[in-house]
């Protein structure tokens, strides 16, 4: 199995039979998934199904126990001292935003480009302001995170990740910590980026968003991918029993 890796020309990330355990608990039980260039994949599934762990393996926040992950055709798996180089290309947005509270919105965005990529202060600021415009809060550049609403904080966090110009954006339940009225403003930004061709992997419970934005929907349960289908097919009901049951539960309220 291990050496039987098919490289697909469109895939930017190829995960093959990856396994991950936390102590005795196996969270990923041999997961394979391709993320195609310029496409958006939405991963859904019940809590504890391994969705977040899967995408955290892609940017090496978790180190897999078995299997292979290829990024642009090169293996990134294994605990690698050069992990940070992989992270230059794969950005991540977190459920709880995780802005740096001692820095302003603009400073949050410009810090990593300045210290990691060595971009000049002026250039970083200019780019940062453009990104704040892109996420539709240009007026908040000098605000500190605790002066922003949850939706605004998450949009700054998205801008912060974009500032590194990653080739792939990973979103780990980006709206789960938000009040309902703020979910839309964040999803709109993610949708816009996706439509502009940003390769995106979004872990979310927002099925309406999945239907609108995803090219493929992946359904995970108990550490396995149960369903991986084009969005239309996924929502047409032409899916496995487990996926159907999940959809009924989540769409019934």
């Amino acid at each position: 199995m291990e050496n039987d890796i098919k490289t697909s020309p469109d895939a930017i990330i190829e995960a093959h039979q990856i396994r991950k355990s936390f102590g005795p608990l196996e969270v990923l039980k041999g997961v394979s998934l391709n993320v195609d260039q310029s496409k958006t994949i939405v991963i859904v599934g019940p809590s504890g199904s391994g969705k977040s762990t899967l995408i955290r393996c892609f940017n090496l926040l978790e180190i897999i126990n078995a299997g292979t992950i290829l990024f642009e055709g090169k293996a990134i798996s294994g605990d690698d001292k050069d992990a940070w180089k992989t992270r230059l290309d794969i950005g991540m947005v977190f459920q709880n935003f995780e802005l740096f509270p001692h820095l302003t919105a603009l400073e949050n965005i410009t810090l990593a480009p300045k210290i990691v990529k060595g971009i000049s202060r002026d250039e970083a600021n200019e780019k940062g302001i453009k990104l704040l415009e892109k996420v539709r809060i240009p007026e908040k550049e000098n605000s500190f995170p605790d002066q922003l609403s949850g939706g605004q904080q998450q949009r700054v966090a998205i801008a912060r990740t974009l500032a590194m110009e990653p080739k792939v954006m990973l979103y780990d339940e980006p709206t789960s910590a938000l009040d309902p009225e703020m979910i839309k403003e964040v999803l709109d930004v993610i949708q816009q980026l996706s439509q502009e061709g940003t390769t995106s992997v979004v872990v979310t419970h927002e099925m309406g968003f999945a239907r609108r934005v995803a090219d493929r929907v992946v359904f995970m349960d108990h550490g396995e991918i149960v369903e991986n289908a084009p969005t239309d097919q996924f929502f047409s009901g032409d899916v496995s029993e487990r996926a159907k049951l999940f959809l009924e539960q989540i769409l019934s309220h």
Partner: protein, 240 residues
């Protein structure tokens, strides 16, 4: 001689002034080395190394479990038997600094841990390396937590330093005690020493207050720019 006159005479005398200088010197040097020791201990605690962790546990157990007075006398009288001979001033500083380090380590650890794991993860995900996460994310926030209680340690040390009179360091309390025992005018001698102590602690408290205001305030530089709606909507976030 009138009590007030004698007190004033003591306060302005060379010997009391030098005693006060000695007390201040002991305090500053001991806290300084205490910070160095505390930093080393805090880092050793964070590092995942069994041997180092055990050494730190024994260190903390010893220095927190015995009186400072015991430690001062130990350094001055016992260490020479093992070939380590220190002046009375050095013995005092060594004992006070080693003792202080045990407490400052705890302050440092609290500061480092005040920066949530999520922020470190986010910084790591932005391709920062470990030292950059420490330098740009953890330390700037940890310092705001660490510096105010270190001010308290200065005030504590100022009072603790009187203990080194036991090994005949000519600090303020020893000077006052000696002056009084020659003429039994304890009230005047102790009042003179008390004035110095209170003057020092008042200055320290004043400095500490300003540092605290800085620590709290620097993050809220432009609070004035914030509209009330945003503040209201973020209130519940902070309690989360």
């Amino acid at each position: 001689m009138d009590a007030l006159d004698l007190t004033l005479e003591y306060i302005t005398s060379d010997i009391f002034f030098r005693g006060a200088q000695m007390t201040l010197l002991l305090t500053i040097i001991s806290v300084f080395f205490g910070i160095v020791v505390g930093l080393i201990i805090a880092v050793c605690q964070e590092i995942n190394n069994k041997a180092l962790n055990y050494i730190v546990v024994i260190y903390l157990w010893f220095f927190r479990g015995t009186p400072v007075l015991f430690q001062i006398i130990f350094v001055y009288n016992v260490l020479p038997q093992f070939g380590i001979e220190l002046s009375s001033f050095s013995s005092g500083v060594v004992a006070l600094a080693l003792n202080e380090g045990a407490y400052i380590a705890e302050i440092m650890r609290a500061g480092l841990q005040s920066v949530g794991k999520g922020q470190r993860t986010a910084a790591t995900a932005l391709a920062m390396r470990e030292w950059q996460v420490m330098r740009y994310i953890v330390l700037p926030q940890a310092l705001r937590v660490i510096i105010p209680p270190i001010g308290n340690q200065f005030i504590g040390m100022l009072k603790l330093s009187a203990l080194v009179s036991v090994v005949a360091v000519e600090e303020l309390l020893l000077v006052a005690n000696q002056a009084a025992s020659s003429n039994f005018r304890y009230l005047e001698a102790l009042m003179a020493a008390g004035v110095y102590y209170l003057a020092f602690t008042t200055v320290f408290m004043f400095i500490q207050r300003h540092i605290e205001i800085w620590a709290k305030g620097s993050r809220k530089r432009d609070l004035a720019n914030v509209d009330v709606d945003t503040l209201n909507s973020t209130e519940h976030m902070e309690t989360r």
